[in-house]
Point group: D2
């Protein structure tokens, strides 16, 4: 199924060459102002060819709201969104040679294994156009999160090939222990990110190195991968389900569902495996920015990435997503046809040698979809609880007693 | 909700100190022989303290089937599984000081933020005992996958701290391009893994280095993380849904739902971002081991990790899971109480300085749950399709024509 | 959420005055021929005003496939369907008096209670236009069911007001014991039903009485309800889940989700409460029409309505759906405004005095959606089972022994 | 799957002869006092043999909480509930003749068609013992609904065979127009119902007639059906989803999932088809009992049954459920064996000649499960909306203008 989310549910549709692509967004809170103007900016950030051209391409990928709003206000009913395809294939055009080969590391072969039929050309459902519906839905989610909770979601490029914004070092095998990284997470915004077009790495020197590296691969008719980092600030605490639907599990699910992704790290990630527990643990401190609805405690460090036990703690949530080098390259590739005949497949034309910069708004969109779904689950629970008669204290009554005395953590954590 | 899966659905329950822990496994195919003896071995591999003791601890964590089988055969109805808790807290024992502090990097604080109440001690629902239900359910899934498709799932430790079985190198930033790694994936089995107890890294020298490193952290009252690698062999092709529920997305979801995980990589993973597309692409070759039900084509290399476009291609699926250093350490930690008073929390007793070895069967269990759920979705689709009248060819008829001529890949992939 | 189904999932959208209405149909088996021509006929049967006019209105409610097919064949990806609205309200037109009152027995008041906002006029999401997406999706489901299993679904009117096709009698408190009724179920087809336009009761005399009755209510500016009966022939056995998702429970859910419905009966229904068990029980007999895939046994009578223990037995499934009198009537009604002021609300114009005839294709569509979803669940289970090694007999080995000897049914049915 | 509900989810397990039956209840609001004593009473009301015996049978079907509470307070984690089976079949006892026949109108045959295997005796998963988990879960839901919203759910018998508490008459084809019926709905409570044991029809004369009728069928070794009516008072307004998951659709689903049910009616039901719209419409009036959280308007009549457009309006919700005559009867039945051999099947022992009285707590339980699930969905929506910035009025500003002037209802309801 092409659905995501339980309370705020997105259902996407569309292939590369059909009439239109789009989605139904269900569960949008009623009474929110919403027009196409709220959705289009992220659509435009997702568009290809943003670096090479100076003329506005805004007329492309225009989203149109079909339902669910009236006079610019959400009704609470499903919001259908549609973007026309321009490359519709109108008729059966005969059998081009390009269709003889399943393209290496594309989805041609696996789609055929799965369905027994496949779209005759282009990526079909695996086309990057499938992400249009996600970005549109994510923009709606983002608007709610911003209005209701001041949530800020910002993604940016942190590596391309072997060029890193924060390269791992022996003392910082993970950026999560690097104060510069944490400082950046606190302040980075989309405006700054977009000043570093085309790479979207918010550091002039790093972005130049990455841009040069991409150009190098482009000139070799090759491609290269990279990493997108994303931060979610002002996320309410208490989001995520304890067991299978931990918040990081939902984020991982969402991110690995983006085409071309190969990895996900929350907080300290893989590098964190090399950090001792004594350094990795995030001690609690009293929160100073105690705005309404913010938790009283926060953590001094944030190797957890804002999530503990699968549940958000109110600190910034951040994660990395690895994108592989694009599979479409200009070089000749020796491979076999659908009929098992060896041959050489060569692609012509302009290709995107690195998808990372364009992936930035897609990562933001998927993050927004995860957060809003978890938020609405938690709001249901909190509201349900708030209507119950008050309980006797369930936290020890003497909880205010000792301050600095050494206490002992019991070892019956279960196992 | 504590449920996982759509067609093969697991619902777990249980905290650290309640009467029992367990699960309901729903959607188990009827007509399969199944007794507790099929489930217990993985339960036992998950048990703590396996390295330090020689006396068998098999009597612990005995699983008992409540329903869903008769005369050792599955009925198709829900199978309830139960394991008794031994550390039940029978009554309110007053307010121990240990309850004053939310433990750093544990779930104490976030559970309280989420629920407004929390279990009075131990990890409650975040306890590692929660994974008992997963391992039990996974064992049932594994049995089916093995019987019906010959699927083999084997996990093992590949790093502890900065000790790696396959350390990244400039020429192999990812193990996916390393022939030794791929060779190991083809042959590794659980017997071999368990010969390398306690670390479960299937290489004598590496496992020794890791064991020493763990001992070092244990002696310092500290802890350390590591990586578990898992391979799934003989997985049918065509599993995974194209859009949000790509097979790697489901695996990422499953793995990040295991306590203490911080990262997930499929195939080439993060290291794959540094590999050019011309190397990273997996060309197709004719499959030689064309057993019944196996695809006609396979890939020459396997940077994809057995999944392309979110759908399994029949090649080995492999992935890495990062586990952080355990949060419970013997050192004193300066932190604050629930009441925002700074103090020092110190744990006593024996702790597990590294969870990675015990995580091995949990990773295997979650992998089995993902594969069986995707498999049943695909079986429904394939069966539905097989009952339709035959179609005219949807792949070009001339597909057998050219062999070695250079062809052109069209660039209308959509974007 | 506006979704229905797990394996074959429909997601509808659209209000009375938005840009378009439609749906996404997900999980459609790949490789089926499908064009708009397969969908339009039921859309047209659903259209209003079919009786009063002779000119074809086919140009209205044209459905357009957006995605999921290529060259007239389903790809297995989501199929988006769209029908334009013609009464879009382009701008805020000021506050008409008609908006002062929540219309009695309409959804105006409850929508406002639910959402805090409501569409400014018309039925909004509660409009009958919402059923367009259902009928379109149902047509796709029906095509598959017919092609793959020869399933036939036919609905027709059996009562209007107190005019009945099979009035309850002391000897037949339920039509399920009436041989004439069962005979009709075996042969009725849509062509015959549509010969009895406008009422769609397949009996000349009864349809005339009903038509006259409707005319009578129309002339009084009043409205009247009625009952639609639906039969599903050639439904495979084994569909339905034993516990909560019994096949009749899914049918009841589907039917009560149609606007204006007030009741559902499967098989003998409410009248069956008056029939003794000795008459009501359906004894088994050997099936004579043992086509491939049909069960070996069938039942002599069919008070069960083709479903036993929540699971289809291969006999015709039939059920009744009660439709209330339409809430929009031409008479003045004393009621209150949103502001609690008493007043008189009067509707002008032409109204539909009885929705039953137009409900016929909607009932068929929802029936098709239930059957295909259950079918795909069962196909997944059967395929999964078929791949297991054979079992020892689970039915007693001596099962072929006795013929006519009296046996005893054990009383340990559990309770 | 054996799950019910999205936000408050019940997963049941258990057959007639396995070790135990029970369920996991997930999504229970945290912080509610809960012990077995809250659950047992409805379990006991469900027990068989309540009329014929005077000795307390309370020791049977004792429910035991496995998890999810501590010190008598819910933690928000899954609550597992277990009841031991007493008729466990310990070993393969050979092939009794009773297993040769699929019992008429039981689930024996359809289970075999569905699963290819079946429990060797008793009803297996179709046993009435499956409802134990429902009743236990429903008791938890009811406690929350009562504490948080004062919801009262009361079911009672309204017909047995052709004996009715409110027989249909020409002037009242549906009880919904009968003031006596509506008055009863306002006051009936469980205490009163249980005073009319064994039939549970809250009218001395009617219950006597029904009891006699049941006795008559019992003496003939036959069985008879009947109707249970259920009322839900103080249900919050705004519950139910507009399209597929209308509140009445969820109730119909829930009720038809109870074994032996054949029909469902909400509000006026089938009889309502005979009532003109001018009588059937429920005009609005100002609510007088405007307690906090209650809607400002209510309806003068209640043919809608408390639900309009699929959404609760705050008025009493009431519905009928038809139960067929039990399939197990003492008479000899001519039928065929699994091997298609005709023969005579005869049951011995004591049977329940009418399940209606015992169904009362099951109906209440399922009603509670529907209401709490809808309530939590609505609470999520309302809370989400409440956090948005205020909107300009979406209801016309002049809404306070006219009182008694005749207004016109626009005819653009869409169709």
């Amino acid at each position: 199924m092409s659905t995501f989310g339980t309370h705020f549910r997105v259902h996407t549709y569309g292939e590369s060459h059909c009439l239109s692509v789009g989605c139904i967004v269900d569960g949008v809170p009623p009474g929110m102002e919403l027009t196409e103007a709220d959705i289009q900016p992220q659509m435009t950030r997702r568009r290809p060819g943003q670096s090479a051209i100076t003329t506005p391409r805004n007329e492309k990928d225009r989203v149109e709201i079909q339902s669910g709003t009236e006079f610019g206000v959400t009704l609470g009913s499903p919001i259908a969104l549609r973007v026309m395809n321009e490359n519709q294939r109108k008729q059966d055009y005969g059998n081009k040679t390009m269709d003889l080969y399943p393209r290496p590391s594309h989805a041609d072969w696996t789609y055929l294994e799965k369905y027994g039929v496949k779209a005759s050309s282009g990526g079909g459902r695996s086309s990057a156009r499938e992400t249009i519906g996600r970005v549109a839905a994510g923009a709606i989610a983002e608007k709610y999160l911003r209005l209701a909770h001041g949530v800020e979601i910002v993604a940016f490029t942190t590596s391309v090939g072997n060029e890193f914004l924060f390269p791992p070092t022996p003392s910082h095998p993970t950026a999560s222990t690097n104060p510069d990284f944490l400082k950046l997470l606190d302040v980075i915004d989309r405006e700054t990110v977009d000043k570093h077009i085309p790479v979207r790495c918010p550091d002039a020197a790093a972005t130049k190195r990455m841009e040069d590296l991409i150009a190098e691969y482009r000139d070799r008719h090759d491609s290269i991968g990279g990493v997108v980092t994303c931060v979610i600030r002002n996320c309410p605490s208490g989001l995520g389900e304890p067991c299978f639907d931990k918040l990081e599990a939902m984020l991982a699910h969402a991110m690995l569902s983006i085409p071309a992704t190969k990895g996900f790290e929350i907080g300290s990630g893989f590098g964190g495996c090399q950090v001792p527990g004594s350094v990795h643990n995030d001690p609690f401190i009293k929160a100073t920015d105690s705005a309404a609805g913010r938790p009283r405690l926060t953590t001094k460090t944030n190797n957890s990435g804002g999530i503990q036990g699968g549940i958000s703690n109110g600190a910034p949530i951040y994660f990395n997503v690895a994108f592989k080098p694009p599979a479409t390259i200009g070089q000749a590739q020796t491979t076999v046809t659908y009929d098992e005949e060896e041959g050489v497949l060569e692609a012509k034309g302009r290709h995107d040698p690195c998808v990372v910069p364009r992936a930035v708004p897609i990562v933001e969109a998927m993050a927004a979809l995860v957060i809003i779904d978890s938020l609405m689950a938690q709001q249901a629970r909190q509201t349900a609880r708030s209507l119950l008669p008050p309980l006797k204290a369930t936290i020890p009554a003497e909880k205010t007693v000792v301050g600095n005395s050494k206490l002992q953590e019991e070892m019956t954590n279960g196992s």
